[in-house]
């Protein structure tokens, strides 16, 4: 073994140990509860040994997220919220990242600080701020009214009444976008910043229109970063429960995370809550794998080039 490799291996040990202790062990605990049993007092009994696993709860959880199951509505709602919120985040985030990376000039530093600023304030605090901003006399409510956005959304049936905090799907999606968009912009910025100007110039020199150069050069080159950003925000959105809790608090906007939280917090179905977590993780794993495949393909292509 080369000396350098050994040094890096040793340096990686603490990090790997940390991850193993605080992620893998914790995750295995959830697996053991999901494949475990409950006492007559409905306290979960983890089955640590895979040979003892009881598939009863996982089976119930799988049925729960299928059409007609007890959490099907929440599951479907979660998928729709996440897809819409990610699309909106991209629509908002891409131009911001593009501008900051390529056209900001001397404002670049200021803009970057502004993009990092939200990370200084906890997600929860930013959501709490929304509960005031979207109150009947809140600034955001007034602004949305002045811009007629509320009546626009009402007329297409997306807003029921004028009460943003009264269990509205739109408000929850807006809050998700607001909460997670900074996490998308940063990786996008890095990806776009790395694109060599000369590649775009070459495309233009070879006769591509500005739009053509963008679609056929910039977008493919930024694909890895974009996907990384999407994965970074879609995964936590999928498990979110406090955003709908704070912004709505109504069963109308319950997400899968709310259902899991409800089962785990109390009542007889804690094992089902753990099993639902596993089903959700399996679903996300599929997304994760397709991301990794794209990443591998891109890397191979880059090596060939």
């Amino acid at each position: 073994m080369r000396r350098g490799a050994l040094t890096w291996r040793l340096l990686a040990i603490p990090g790997v140990a940390w991850l193993a202790a605080f992620f893998l062990v914790a995750f295995y605990a959830i697996v053991s509860v999901g494949f475990g049993n409950v006492t007559t007092l409905y306290q979960p009994v983890p089955h640590w040994n895979p040979l003892d696993w009881n598939v009863g709860y996982v089976w119930v959880a799988v049925k729960a997220v299928l059409p007609g199951g007890q959490t099907w509505d929440a599951f479907l709602r979660t998928v729709i919220y996440v897809v819409v919120a990610v699309a909106l985040s991209l629509a908002i985030g891409f131009p911001v990242a593009w501008y900051t990376a390529r056209h900001a000039g001397r404002w670049r530093g200021v803009l970057l600080v502004a993009l990092v600023l939200p990370f200084w304030i906890s997600y929860l605090m930013r959501m709490f701020a929304w509960t005031n901003l979207l109150a009947t006399d809140g600034y955001a409510t007034k602004a949305l009214h002045a811009l007629s956005i509320d009546s626009l959304l009402s007329s297409v049936g997306l807003l029921d009444g004028r009460d943003w905090l009264g269990g509205q799907h739109v408000a929850v999606v807006m809050a998700l976008v607001y909460g997670y968009v900074p996490y998308l912009i940063l990786p996008l910025f890095v990806a776009l910043d790395r694109i060599d100007d000369r590649v775009i110039e070459a495309a233009r020199d070879l006769g591509a229109s500005p739009a053509g150069a963008f679609w056929r050069v910039v977008v493919p080159l930024a694909r890895t970063g974009t996907l990384a950003g999407i994965v970074l925000i879609a995964l936590p959105m999928f498990g979110d429960y406090y955003t709908p809790d704070l912004i709505s608090g109504s069963p109308n906007t319950s997400m899968l995370g709310n259902a899991i939280n409800g089962y785990v917090q109390g009542g007889p179905d804690k094992a089902l809550g753990a099993a639902l977590t596993l089903v959700a993780s399996a679903f996300l794993l599929v997304l994760m794998f397709s991301y990794l495949r794209v990443l591998r393909a891109d890397q191979r292509e880059a090596q060939r080039a």
């Binding site: 049993n37 306290q43 009994v45 009863g56 929440a74 009444g161 409800g262």
Partner: protein
């Protein structure tokens, strides 16, 4: 928990049987009930619950039992809890120094009261908080949390006793119970003797509303609980309590069901349908923040606990909002009216000091400071005339019904312990509604 020998368990069992026979109520010896975690049910795929005669199959259990095998106490069916272990001797001096640990809901004790006790006894008092009683039970029964004092509710008592998580109290160390507390609670039906508890505060479940915002007066309706279903103009401003008993219970009371401890699946199925109908009408919120959302106007109509309305007045009114915009209605004929209670943990390190803390909270002046100074929930003490709050103008007349009276308490309804299958039925009804 499993370090008691089988011999011990039999002995305790027999003794508690004898004690029960001597007492007025049905006592059942389930001394060493749940040992370890070995009593597992079937996986839910082939669900069978755990009701019936209880896991010990104790033949003396006449009526229905909870999951610990202890009979379900009712006002007309008082239950003596089996005695597990001995109480502390009367002459043992209180422990000194170190810390006294308390396990409670957040914001459910006046910090000034805690501080004064710590100073008086020369200890540090630390409070660890839980969100739900179920979470508290989980952590305690997994042995993950050590504490001296446990705040809980009477419906939790049988499983706390069944799991040996609380110790019998020595009432000679708790003279304030007899001296100060309402006589109705000297020997409560949920803990005949008493053996394990002293009462903490009382409350009712009713309707809280903003009389300046709501265009009608719920209390004037023939069926006030129907106010929620009629509040269609106030979509998004209507909330019910986020609680697996209070939520379905509201729908039951609106239908005139008086047995709030029913285990009839048909009634709960209809309650679920009614709640979904309510949601379709008013896009209802579920929350236990009524003490904050009502005074700030984020909700206008809220299924509420009485103490939350008083707490709202004590600490949550925004400047410019007068207290009398808040109203509260309570139905003395049938709505829930009950009390919380306090226990000493089985493995308390400072059991004598824990007794002194319980006794401290039942001192009239301390209890009043805790109530009117912070918590808003009223202690059931003879000398605390809650009307004084009205006379002093601390509580506006619109909240007169948020004050709990002895008469109403004596005749009141309550959410009590259910059988395991019954509890599961209520919990799943609520989960089905909450999942939307």
């Amino acid at each position: 928990m499993s370090d008691e020998s089988a011999e011990d368990r039999r002995r305790i069992s027999r003794r508690s049987l004898l004690a029960g026979a001597a007492g007025a109520a049905a006592a059942v010896g389930v001394g060493g009930a749940l040992v370890g975690c070995e009593n597992t049910t079937q996986p839910v795929a082939v669900s069978s619950g755990g009701g019936g005669r209880g896991i010990l199959g104790d033949p003396t259990a006449g009526g229905p039992v909870d999951a610990s095998g202890i009979p379900l106490s009712r006002r007309d069916y008082p239950v003596t809890m089996p005695r597990v272990g001995d109480h502390v001797p009367s002459r043992r001096p209180p422990e000194r120094g170190g810390e006294l640990r308390i396990y409670n809901y957040a914001d459910y004790l006046n910090p000034a009261v805690i501080k004064a006790f710590g100073k008086q006894e020369g200890v540090t008092v630390t409070v660890t908080t839980f969100q739900t009683l179920d979470e508290a039970f989980s952590k305690l029964s997994a042995g993950r949390l050590r504490t001296d004092v446990i705040f809980t509710t009477p419906d939790q008592l049988s499983r706390l006793v069944g799991r040996h998580l609380v110790q019998p109290l020595n009432y000679e160390l708790l003279p304030n119970l007899q001296r100060n507390v309402w006589p109705e609670l000297h020997n409560p039906f949920y803990d005949v003797g008493p053996r394990y508890t002293v009462p903490y505060v009382t409350y009712t479940t009713g309707i809280g509303w903003r009389n300046d915002k709501l265009g009608f007066d719920p209390s004037k309706l023939d069926q006030p609980w129907d106010a929620f279903w009629r509040a269609t103009p106030y979509r998004g401003r209507v909330a019910i309590l986020d609680d697996s008993r209070e939520g379905p219970g509201l729908a039951l009371m609106r239908r005139g069901v008086t047995d709030l401890n029913t285990e009839d699946p048909a009634l709960l199925r209809r309650a679920l349908e009614d709640l979904r109908d309510l949601d379709a009408r008013v896009r209802v919120k579920v929350s236990i923040s009524d003490y904050e959302t009502l005074p700030t106007g984020r909700t206008w109509l809220h299924e509420s606990w009485s103490g939350d309305l008083i707490s709202a007045v004590l600490g949550y009114l925004p400047s410019g909002t007068p207290a009398d915009v808040l109203s509260y209605w309570f139905d003395p004929a049938g709505a829930p009216i009950f009390n919380d209670c306090i226990c000493v943990a089985a493995d308390a390190e400072k059991p004598v000091l824990a007794h002194r803390f319980l006794n401290h909270l039942l001192d009239t002046r301390v209890a009043y400071a805790n109530f009117a100074g912070f918590v808003g929930y009223q202690p059931p003490l003879n000398a605390i005339d809650a009307d004084v709050l009205l006379r002093r103008g601390i509580v506006p007349p619109t909240l007169r019904q948020a004050i709990v009276t002895r008469e109403a308490y004596a005749n009141g309804n309550a959410y009590l312990t259910l059988s395991a299958t019954g509890q599961q039925l209520w919990d799943r009804t609520w989960a089905a509604f909450r999942n939307g």
